[in-house]
């Protein structure tokens, strides 16, 4: 089962998305919300991202969703710090943050493979609302 990390600039967004995603999840997918700077401002805390990866890393893989700017840069930096073996299985998805979190949680809960989940959440249809 794939685990999920949600990295937003804003703590409330990350935690809210976790709440929304967990409402739909089946099985025991783990979701960690990482949001804001260590001192509670809007921004990113790379150390918290690293801790999250270490905490929920699994052989099945980990999908990371990030909202924008420094969240993306910080995730990529942390990924570069990982050991090759771990690095290969942790993916920053090209997916919309909230919408992707929900669908990733559902599909991870169904036991879908990381590639299948990424195919779903990276689809351009993910942002269609009509």
């Amino acid at each position: 089962m794939v685990n999920i990390i949600l990295v937003s600039h804003v703590k409330e967004i990350a935690e809210g998305a976790k709440k929304l995603a967990e409402q739909m999840k089946q099985g025991d997918v783990e979701i960690i919300a990482v949001g804001g700077t260590p001192d509670g401002d809007i921004g990113t805390d790379p150390d918290a991202i690293e801790t999250a990866v270490n905490e929920i890393y699994k052989e099945d893989g980990v999908i990371i969703l990030a909202d924008l700017g420094s969240a993306i840069m910080s995730v990529n930096m942390v990924l570069d710090w990982l050991e090759e073996e771990v690095r290969e299985k942790v993916v920053l998805a090209d997916a919309p943050f909230v919408e992707g979190a929900v669908v990733a949680a559902v599909e991870a809960g169904m036991g879908n493979k990381i590639e299948e989940i990424l195919e779903s959440i990276e689809s351009a249809d993910m942002i269609k609302k009509n």
Partner: protein, 205 residues
């Protein structure tokens, strides 16, 4: 040389902290208005770290600067400057810096920033200050300039580069959301980079 490096870093930190408001104002115009806050948060912590402990080598010192910025800055400038300093820490000598080592330091910084941010010169970022500064050092080497002359040139080119960002359209970072409207404003990251380079140069010669 580590004592001297510590002095330089402390001076850089002071200058960044002094310019907190200025950098934040620049970021308000084309970003989210936190660059000064981010950078002074980072460099305040750097000062604390330098205070707390003696460092055996420039390597160790600069790595601490890098990791501290990464942990505390909170904005894109955190991973960018953090990776730059991390790269520098890998090659920085303990001996007095000659022109070759200054060039190597500059190139490592650029490589680190580009690894993180995937930007080129001309995209209205900190690279528009740093790349011309490094290029200037390389030209000085070719021209056989002495180190003082090289550093003077380097500072001038950094300032020119910073100012050139005014007329650029941002195509990386948050300022790129503004499209053409980013033109006419000096880039905050290019400005903090200039402040850093200027301070280092002034301390070195």
């Amino acid at each position: 040389m580590t004592e001297k490096s510590k002095e330089i870093i402390n001076k850089v930190a002071d200058v960044i902290i002094e310019n907190k408001k200025y950098l934040t104002e620049l970021d308000s115009a084309i970003g989210d208005g936190d660059h000064g806050i981010n950078m002074s948060k980072g460099f305040n912590k750097v000062k604390e770290k330098l205070e707390a402990k003696d460092y055996e080598s420039n390597k160790e010192l600069i790595k601490t600067v890098a990791m501290t910025l990464i942990s505390t800055v909170g904005g894109a400038s955190g991973p960018l400057y953090g990776t730059a300093f991390l790269n520098i820490s890998k090659i920085i000598p303990d001996a007095d810096f000659d022109l070759d080592s200054l060039i190597e330091i500059g190139e490592s910084a650029v490589a680190g920033i580009q690894k993180r941010g995937k930007a080129e010169q001309g995209e209205k970022t900190m690279l528009d200050t740093i790349i011309p500064a490094v290029n200037s050092l390389k030209e000085s080497k070719e021209n056989g300039d002495n180190i003082e002359e090289a550093l003077k040139q380097c500072k001038a080119k950094a300032e020119e580069g910073m100012k050139a960002t005014i007329d650029m359209q941002a195509t990386k970072g948050r300022a790129s959301y503004l499209g053409k409207r980013s033109i006419g404003h000096q880039d905050p990251g290019a400005t903090s980079s200039y402040l850093i380079i200027k301070t280092v140069v002034d301390e070195l010669y």
